[in-house]
Symmetry: none
Subunit: 210 residues, 2 copies
DNA sequence: CGTCCATTCATGGGTTTCACCGATTTCCTC
DNA sequence: GAGGAAATCGGTGAAACCCATGAATGGACG
């Protein structure tokens, strides 16, 4: 039985490329998506050995998706993919209890290695990441973890992308009231009461691009 | 003789994946690099039909590399790869005289299509690139860097800082109606209709910090 | 088991923004 | 001097957002 993998990345091209490379190595890709939330669902339905997840995705980001997957599909190990070792969310990702952490700047062989290592129960950290993490700890450049819950972070991200409350509610399959409640909670926790400042906060936290 | 392609992208994983996909389509990858400057050199030595270049690279970015390649290896057509259609460098990239423009969020088939189109002498623009940008590009009318008047820029800055229309009016000693008119004019000129997106625009244009 | 918190949804009312319509004055350019 | 853009101001009504408060559920943690 070959290793079953789920792929989640914003870029379809990346997914297709990785899929081709992994399948050449005899690893089966049982599902793929651009959306962290869908990654959680696909993990439940396909129950893959490993979920390979990009750190920055639109609807639900890597670390939060990793937490959900660990909670709902404990059998599935999570390997995080990131574009940069300096991403301020690296530490957050590590705290979310992932089994592997790989840079996209590395060769695909690195990912294959990581997948095989994780299957044996090891934790695989890309060498450049370990360095970055240690440095971050030492220099204290790590941003303090924001006080938001995963749901609130998810909502904030969509707010910062310009979606209206109604649009967010539809996207997340919530009532408008609930979405409003999340927004209120966000404003109250951060003590930020204008949309514009929320957007700037989200950009600082790298919840969205700009 | 198959089509000869050069790949330039920060992420080795992406390059390897694309290479696998392109070669499956009978397209030959004659070289690859993470570095825009090296892409220029490789274009000279290998003289490929097409250089597929990521828009954001460390040493020399996509548009600038495209200009150099056109100057030094005029036979080689350039196709730009980008992560987002809202990248502030989209226009710059188009002005640099590329033959194709593709989003990484699209399927790899799109890239293959683009490569084949460009080989036939066509220009291939991903459909998701903003209408306004494409129009400006095609008509050669070269959008101004920032179409806003000084007053509008001033108002936008304050909007992005989180001030309400009323606060802005008071600060600038204007009527609320005038301030509203400015906001309306800004939205219409930029074709951006949510505050959140306006804030991101302002940050990109360095009108405000974040 | 009780407490805290996240998540969900609601009522009701106030504020702000937005879209569409209109206008005048000034100033620059062709 | 006609045309155009910038800057100034106004009305109206719909949509979106903000605020205070309340409350049910369920999971986590001591």
């Amino acid at each position: 039985m070959s290793i079953q993998v789920l792929l989640a990345d914003d870029h379809q091209m990346m997914r297709q490329g990785l899929k081709a490379l992994l399948e050449r190595e005899g690893i089966t890709v049982v599902g793929e998506t651009a959306d962290g939330r869908e990654a959680v669902l696909l993990s439940q339905t396909h129950n893959p050995d490993i979920a390979v997840i990009d750190i920055s995705m639109r609807v639900l980001n890597g670390p939060d998706a990793a937490r959900e997957i660990r909670r709902l599909s404990p059998r599935t190990k999570v390997v995080i993919l990131t574009a940069s070792a300096e991403d301020p969310n690296v530490l957050d990702a590590l705290r979310s209890g992932v089994s592997g952490y790989i840079l996209k700047t590395q060769a695909a062989e690195e990912l294959v290695l990581a997948i095989r290592d994780v299957m044996r129960g090891c934790v695989y950290l890309s060498p450049s990441v370990s360095r970055a993490v240690v440095d971050a700890f030492r220099s204290g450049t790590d941003l303090p973890r924001d006080p938001l819950s995963p749901r609130e972070r998810q909502v904030l991200r969509l707010v910062a992308e310009g979606l209206s409350t109604k649009e967010i509610a539809t996207l997340l399959e919530l009532s408008v009231r609930t979405t409003e409640a999340h927004r209120r909670q966000i404003r109250s926790k951060l003590n930020i009461h204008e949309t514009a400042s929320l957007v700037r906060y989200a950009i600082r936290r790298r919840l969205v691009e700009f």
